[in-house]
Symmetry: C2
Subunit: 182 residues, 2 copies
């Protein structure tokens, strides 16, 4: 079961830098793009940034729709995550190819990916060109998380809460064990 989060709680789901699946919609339906490059950037208002190459199909879906969802996959979705980062949604239905399930979001038209453990619903706030990519800054308007994997923070120390962190190429590190500073 998923439980609702405040925008600031939802923002924190990517505080630890996991690789994410971003969904956005266009005339031909929803698409998924895998991104290693994202970070929260502001608390008031709750903002996050993602960096997307203009050549990617999702780039213009985000620009034109002004909305997207950040979905947090767990480590069991390794092959789906890698697949959605290597094929283009221009000529493939990535939900079908990856065997992932779109379900409605609460605040935006872009769908959630049912198989993911957390979701951050976003509305475009600003964008900047930075080198060969576009930085999209978005306001977090809602979110949810698997209630069994959340104790105020993501419970990466449960197997189902482990997240993927892209080191490069086809290599990912898995974040698991949690530690507390004094």
């Amino acid at each position: 079961m998923k439980r609702s989060l405040t925008p600031n709680q939802a923002l924190q789901l990517i505080n630890h830098g996991p690789t994410i699946l971003v969904t956005a919609v266009g005339e031909r339906g929803p698409n998924i793009i895998t991104l290693a490059w994202s970070t929260p950037v502001s608390i008031r208002p709750p903002l996050l940034a993602i960096s997307v190459a203009p050549s990617r199909y999702s780039h213009d879906l985000i620009l034109n729709s002004g909305e997207f969802v950040v979905n947090v996959p767990n480590s069991s979705l390794l092959e789906q995550v890698h697949l959605c980062g290597t094929i283009s949604g221009r000529n493939k239905d990535k939900f079908k190819e990856a065997g992932l399930t779109p379900i409605p979001a609460n605040k935006v038209k872009a769908p959630l990916i049912k198989e993911c453990i957390g979701h951050i619903e976003c509305k475009l706030y600003a964008y900047y060109t930075a080198g060969d990519h576009t930085i999209f800054i978005a306001e977090v308007v809602g979110g949810s998380v698997d209630e069994e994997l959340y104790d105020g923070h993501l419970m990466t120390d449960k197997v189902e809460g482990e997240t993927l962190h892209h080191l490069g190429g086809n290599v990912y590190a898995i974040a698991g064990r949690r530690v507390r500073a004094r």
Copy 2:
């Protein structure tokens, strides 16, 4: 021993979203700030983004000097990382407080932190206000990594290569095991 990296290799040291120690210099010497909020944003040129609150002492050091170094700590530096995120360099020498050692960088005046496993030397490229933070975009001009912890990617699966990923509060996830997608 550290080995030199090309700027694009160095950029990839934060591809997996580790919590970082950023060093910058001012008239009163170097300072350290712990940041969970960073991401690569461009390949050509190699650019990264960090998000820093204007109230932080390092904010104006970066703005005025136009340079900083991203240092990647391993999991053994948990207490030092947390300390450098909780005290201010305005009235404390964080190198001394945390027991960390500044050593010269190659391309910038800001120092490297000797105890860290990787370093990314950066020159300020652009900056934008986003909500209550400033996004600093910087060009990577050099970098280095512990040669025993690098096989083309960071070897987080060695104990000395494990990285810290801030979940929030005083809680961090540790990235360790590496997996390869097909």
